[in-house]
């Protein structure tokens, strides 16, 4: 698979993204570390999903551009880009009756042509993606008959079959219960570790972000307010700035990464119980 390929570099220079003229991301410079897991965090509407769409060329920039290995992503053919960079949008929906195997096979699109629609390589990588995501036993089932976690794994398998060095995912854990969230994040971690894929994702849960990220990017109002290792980025001051929320940072007892405990108004329930006695 992709492990031997030289890692692709994704950078932005003065990237400005806008919806209907309203600026969402302004003059943003960002270099995604190759071969690592980058997680974008920030409050609702801060522009993190928009940035992800911009990085994946789904949104044309207002000004500035995204560079893939030094070349503007909008000057390369979209099919060429799709061989280096795959995107899984938030909450994708498959047509009724589509089987897992059919879905995963469609990940091969950028590698195919009018006459070359199913090479042995297509077949091999589709099977491999099904095995990697542990979906091979469910391959002939229609997607609507699967659980949320299995369905998300099927979509990740499709992105894997695309065989790209860079993988972008927009909130891959939304709508999943906690066990399935960890299952999906572990899968992505394994892909990064064993195949050296660059993973860029938007996550809502700060503690999961800190645990899985090599590189954390904190975004507020369309600008990067901090970026670096989770240890450096996750401070009480930073959370206040990002979410306007008072919190304490403690050490994750399992991973040793920073963990954010919000303060909130309802606190010290234990004390209340004790005083009532």
């Amino acid at each position: 698979m992709n492990a031997d390929k030289t890692p692709s570099n994704l950078t932005t220079r003065k990237l400005t993204l806008a919806y209907d003229g309203a600026c969402v991301i302004s003059e943003l410079n960002l270099a995604i570390p190759a071969g690592q897991i980058t997680v974008l965090v920030g409050a609702n509407g801060c522009g993190k999903s928009t940035l992800l769409r911009g990085l994946a060329r789904l949104l044309k920039p207002h000004s500035g551009t995204v560079y893939l290995d030094g070349k503007s992503i909008f000057k390369l053919s979209t099919k060429e880009v799709a061989k280096h960079l795959g995107i899984l949008p938030q909450g994708p929906v498959a047509p009724e009756g589509l089987t897992v195997r059919e879905l995963v096979a469609q990940g091969r699109y950028p590698h195919q042509g009018w006459l070359q629609q199913w090479s042995p390589e297509d077949e091999r990588l589709t099977n491999q993606a099904l095995i990697t995501t542990d979906m091979i036993d469910l391959a002939n089932r229609p997607l609507e008959n699967l659980s949320g976690g299995q369905r998300q794994r099927a979509w990740i398998a499709m992105a894997l079959a695309q065989d790209t060095q860079i993988l972008l995912l927009d909130e891959p854990t939304t709508f999943l219960d906690l066990a399935h969230q960890i299952e999906v994040l572990d899968l992505l971690y394994d892909l990064n570790q064993s195949q050296g894929r660059t993973i860029i994702m938007v996550l809502h849960d700060l503690n999961q972000a800190c645990r899985y990220a090599d590189y954390l990017v904190a975004i507020a109002a369309g600008r990067i307010v901090a970026s670096g290792k989770p240890d450096e980025v996750m401070t009480e001051e930073m959370i206040r700035q990002l979410f306007m929320l008072e919190c304490r940072i403690v050490k994750d007892p399992v991973a040793g990464t920073p963990m954010c405990i919000p303060v909130g108004r309802k606190k010290s329930q234990l004390k209340q119980v004790e005083t009532q006695r």
């Binding site: 879905l103 950028p110 009018w114 199913w118």
Partner: protein, 345 residues
């Protein structure tokens, strides 16, 4: 068991089909052929299927059926087959594009636009030759589709807006058609009315030859774009992420769909619900992947119209119903059933 049939004649050429597709296409082809034989055989005087086959094969039978079979009945059945194929493929493409199993050339304005143009021609310019009808219908369908597309455009084309605006424009076009029918000259109007119901009655070889080129061009073109249609069926973001030129391919596919529906409507009027039911049945048979779905839907559509025409001839014989009435009687409840099934989505 392998889920796919893979064809790799050379290193650089390869194709893949769902395992279910070849046997199902074969069965559908046989059924369609049988329905065509029965349709040709049935009429004011009945011809046994074997004699129909002999006559078609150029073997003279004692009774000399050649005139009835080859000149009167065969073109009508061929028109029914082609119209069904065109409408069904058009519907299958639209359903894939809009990601809506209820989309149909009749619903998003294609049929209404084609009807308006054709009725205008029949009522106001009755002297104009037959072969111009498909072009006028195509023009009308195209104008209406472009109008819908343009009105629905907002930084890209959303499938939902496309359908809602389509329904609105359809009402307007239908209203204009009604105006023409109300105020037109009576002889021309009655012609237009028969045409509007959708019928293959009295269709001749001229009709076959003016319809066939449209299908010969646009059906293969649709097949070439199958993989893009598959990608679009996963949503715009996924399709774009896979490297498909979303807007360009969608426009092209929409044009193909319009052309197929318009040519069919121009030849046989608006035979309703075929573009809705045929793709739906085909999806049950071979799944939603378009390499298999398009040919299966096309054959299913052809079979539906040929059978509907046969039923229309038999039900109240010797009086013939327009086959559009039969497809509507079967299609409307089916549409309601689909609506009921989709109510939670």
């Amino acid at each position: 068991m392998k889920p796919w049939v893979v064809i790799r004649p050379r290193d650089t050429i390869s194709f893949r089909l769902d395992r279910r597709v070849p046997p199902i296409l074969l069965i559908l082809a046989l059924l369609t052929f049988a329905a065509m034989l029965m349709n040709v055989g049935y009429g004011e005087y009945t011809i046994p299927p074997l004699d129909v086959l002999k006559t078609l094969g150029g073997i003279e039978t004692d009774q000399g059926y050649s005139l009835v079979v080859n000149t009167l009945r065969l073109p009508r059945v061929l028109v029914a087959l082609l119209v069904g194929m065109g409408l069904a493929t058009s519907g299958a493409i639209l359903q894939g594009l809009t990601r809506n199993p209820l989309a149909d050339p009749g619903i998003i304005g294609v049929t209404a636009g084609a009807s308006l143009a054709a009725v205008t021609l029949i009522v106001l310019f009755p002297a104009i030759a037959l072969f111009t009808l498909p072009f006028a219908a195509f023009g009308g369908a195209l104008v209406v589709t472009v109008l819908i597309y343009w009105l629905a455009w907002n930084q890209g084309s959303s499938p939902m807006r496309l359908i809602l605006i389509g329904i609105g424009i359809t009402s307007i076009a239908t209203a204009l058609t009604t105006v023409l029918v109300t105020f037109g000259e009576i002889n021309n109007v009655s012609q237009a009315l028969i045409w509007l119901t959708g019928s293959v009655y009295g269709r001749s070889w001229h009709h076959v030859w003016s319809l066939l080129p449209w299908l010969a061009v646009f059906l293969p073109l649709a097949f070439v774009l199958c993989r893009d249609l598959n990608a679009l069926n996963l949503g715009d973001d996924v399709a774009q992420g896979l490297g498909s030129h979303v807007e360009q391919k969608r426009t092209l596919l929409l044009l193909i769909s319009v052309a197929l529906a318009a040519a069919s409507v121009a030849t046989a009027g608006s035979i309703g619900f075929v573009g809705l039911i045929a793709p739906h049945l085909a999806r049950q048979l071979v799944g939603p992947t378009h390499e298999g779905l398009l040919p299966t839907a096309a054959l299913t559509g052809g079979m539906i119209v040929v059978s509907a025409d046969l039923l229309a001839k038999m039900l109240f014989a010797p009086i013939e119903l327009p086959c559009g009435i039969v497809t509507a009687i079967i299609g409307a409840p089916y549409f309601l059933y689909l609506l009921y099934q989709n109510r939670n989505q």
